[in-house]
């Protein structure tokens, strides 16, 4: 009786595995995110009252090192910095991009991934921007 049940379970599992009835679109496009694109951008971005992109990038790099990240990549032209930190054996990856808004402001945006999950807690980004603001000696303005 038990053997039969087990056999059925194995057959169902094998069928599900072979059926391939899943779509890659949702996980590639992050369609399962509970937040809208606008919400994401809002908590992942801050505006700073400076036009000095290089200095801001250097401050971002210093802040990431202060937060125990090792820098993976930095591109002055594109304005991106990517770093990795190991938290409880799990990699926490972050990309920070810096782009001008008008002539007097820069928009700094961060997005992070912890293990295989996108970091979707606004508080984590708030913490990052607090750390960055201290190093910039500038206030981080919410972007609307």
């Amino acid at each position: 009786m038990i053997k039969q049940k087990l056999r059925v379970a194995v057959v169902i599992a094998a069928t599900l595995m072979l059926s391939g009835c899943y779509s890659n679109a949702n996980s590639v496009l992050d369609n399962n995110s509970k937040q809208s694109q606008l919400q994401l951008r809002t908590y992942q971005s801050r505006a700073f009252d400076t036009a000095d992109k290089t200095k801001t990038m250097r401050t971002v790099i210093a802040t990431l090192q202060d937060l125990d990240f090792v820098i993976d990549k930095a591109d002055a032209t594109l304005g991106t910095v990517t770093g990795t930190k190991f938290t409880y054996n799990t990699p926490l990856l972050i990309t920070v991009s810096i782009r001008p808004r008008g002539e007097r402001q820069l928009i700094v945006r961060a997005n992070a991934q912890y293990g295989i999950q996108a970091v979707q807690e606004p508080i984590a980004y708030q913490d990052f921007f607090n750390s960055l603001s201290k190093a910039m000696f500038l206030d981080a303005h919410e972007v609307s």
Binding site: I2, L6, T54, M57, R58, I61, A62, Q65, D66, L67, D68, F69, V70, I71, D72, K73, A74, D75, A76, T77, G83, T84, K85, F86, T87, Y88, N89, T90, P91, L92, I94, A112, Y114, G115, I116, Q117, V119, E121, I123, A124, Y125, D127, F128, N130, S131, K134
Partner: protein, 178 residues
Amino acid sequence: MWYKTKATLVLSLTLLLVGCSTVPDGSLQLSPKSLERRQAQSRKFATTDETKMLIASMEVLQDMGFLISESESKLGVIVAAKTREIDNRAQRFAQITLSLLAGTSTHGIEKTHNIRVSLVTIPDKSKKDTTVRINFQREVIDIHGNLVRRHSLHEDDLYQGFFAKLSKSVFLEAHDVI
């Protein structure tokens, strides 16, 4: 038998659910140790030539066997990595022997580590010095090739040793020895 199957199912489901972990609190907050660590990871050099410091740093990384994986001279950034055997042969031999005698698993016995480093040069505000900052991370791999742990390296002697080499490199290059 049925109990075992049930237990396996419960365990599998738990593991599946545990997979949905979120980022630990405070991961992106500055820790009280940040300043102390920054000081250990940084040294000032009496030069305004940032490119020269970056090249001297790259030379030291190469002296240490690191391969440069990324660099952006406009921002003074070098990223490098290397894989080495951990200096624990005697300990490893003892662990393997004990495991074999006791019939326990040899998984987790550390053998190699992948070391990653990011080095940054920072022009001083006073325009007299250039600061070099470096930080290290590693992944430890066991004798079966599986990942054991990942962590940042904060040992003071590591940073002191690196800057001793860098000071020597700057001196050698300043005097055109190499």
